[in-house]
């Protein structure tokens, strides 16, 4: 990034980051997720710095980007949640074999598809509402690595679900 772009980004960040967190909170009702969404908006701004610089209203641009991050966050969570719920709703004979116990819960159902760590990651993100950043810091991995692991786990579940519907 050019020095002048880096300077613009930092100035905007220091002046408006908290305002964007509050803006994201309006849509997410969660301060941790709102903070993450505002960070992601600046991540996008960094990659689209030329668009941001050319914008007549950089603050408006950042706000709109934040809104779209919020929308994408919510849609991603909904898709993951629907996948979990859909799998849990499968008829008993279509569920993974280890889920037959009456007391079976999500963990029992999904650990035949996922490794225990994958299940734990997905549960923390989808059901417990933790953020990638929180989880990554806890696990000592990068946020992007954490995101990839969750993505992989989701994909496994999706394939399992698709197979069960064939």
């Amino acid at each position: 990034m050019r020095p002048e772009d880096a300077q613009l980004l930092e100035e905007l960040y220091r002046a408006h980051f908290h305002a964007l967190v509050v803006h994201a909170y309006r849509y997410l009702d969660d301060w941790n997720e709102a903070t993450l969404a505002a960070q992601e908006a600046f991540h996008i701004a960094c990659e689209k710095i030329d668009v941001l610089r050319a914008s007549a209203n950089p603050i408006g641009w950042l706000k709109e980007t934040t809104r779209n991050v919020c929308r994408n966050l919510w849609k991603t969570r909904q898709r993951q949640l629907q996948l979990l719920v859909s799998l849990d709703d499968l008829p008993e004979n279509e569920q993974p074999a280890r889920a037959l116990e009456a007391e079976a819960d999500y963990a029992d159902t999904f650990t035949s598809v996922l490794s225990p760590e994958e299940y734990r990651l997905l549960k923390r993100i989808v059901l417990d509402g933790d953020t990638y950043l929180e989880l990554a810091q806890e696990l000592g991995i990068s946020m992007w690595a954490c995101r990839k692991r969750v993505q992989r786990a989701t994909e496994k579940l999706r394939k399992r679900y698709d197979r069960s519907k064939e």
């Binding site: 009702d29 779209n68 995101r147």
Partner: protein, 276 residues
């Protein structure tokens, strides 16, 4: 930092007297139909209140550098989807179930121009007239105070067969009722049913009542395009769009009602026709 000329200081100073939790409740209870200036004032008031408890800006900047702006993150997005889209407006309050919030008496006062000359012949006498400008729409204020906002809201919901909270009267094939939100104060009550499908399309039905005469319950934002008046079954509906979402608004006297979302006009009119 919130400046002294921000809207929470100049236009809605009463917001600064609310507790932080009330500000949070109010902000997250907005459903996108309020005046944007009010939303901005709320955000500014909350920002001022939370300034000290939000994350340290130096630490946040450091996290951005170390976690987001890394080689691994180049070209990546934390959540799938477009960075920018003008296709639809976000609807706040996605995830919460019923929540009570203090209503800002602030609910917005504006000067309306363009009052339509209404011909009420053949229409219900209790309907109130719609008023609109280039960017807002509202109903004329009720002339009589509402004796009981709860009773008025309940009566309206019963007439629409929505009192069982199943939301069935407005449920379209392929959609599910996702959320019901309620806002209640001494002078205002509102209930909103949120529907969505598996593709992320959504719409909502909302009913609101204000007990004070001369105070409209809702100020709707709208695009610059005009307002279509649609009459069916002796009722008058006002149709307009706002940021890509279509809105039908009507009044049954005490209550103001609306249906809005990612629905085309034929679908909306079909639903209105069924109301009888």
């Amino acid at each position: 930092m919130v400046r002294g000329d921000s809207p929470c200081h100049t236009e809605y100073p009463q917001l600064l007297r609310l507790e932080t939790q009330k500000l949070e409740e109010l902000l997250t209870s907005l459903d996108g139909t309020e005046e944007e200036g009010f939303a901005e004032a709320l955000e500014a008031a909350l920002l001022q209140r939370k300034a000290e408890s939000l994350s340290d800006i130096d630490q946040s900047w450091d996290i951005l550098q170390k976690e987001f702006l890394t080689e691994e993150g180049v070209g990546q997005r934390l959540f799938d989807g477009e960075d920018h889209s003008h296709a639809s407006r976000l609807r706040p309050r996605w995830r919460r179930t019923v929540r009570r919030a203090l209503l800002a008496a602030a609910a917005v006062l504006a000067v309306f121009a363009g009052i339509i000359a209404a011909d009420a012949a053949g229409l219900e006498l209790f309907s109130r007239l719609g008023h609109w400008t280039q960017s807002t729409f509202s109903f004329s204020a009720p002339t009589e105070p509402v004796a009981s906002i709860d009773a008025a809201l309940q009566e309206t919901l019963q007439q629409l067969r929505m009192d069982g909270l199943s939301g069935a009267a407005f449920l379209l094939d392929g959609y599910q009722l996702r959320d019901i939100s309620q806002v209640h104060s001494d002078t205002y009550a509102r209930i909103c049913f949120f529907y969505s499908d598996s593709q992320g399309n959504s719409y909502n039905f909302r009913a609101a009542v204000h007990s004070e005469p001369a105070q409209p319950a809702t100020l709707y934002e709208k695009d610059g395009a005009g307002v279509e008046i649609y009459e069916t079954n002796g009722k008058r509906y006002y149709l307009f769009s706002n940021l890509g979402r279509n809105v039908a608004a009507w009044s049954d006297g005490a209550c103001e009602l609306s249906l809005s979302g990612d629905l085309d006009w034929n679908t909306i009119k079909g639903l209105l026709d069924q109301l009888g």
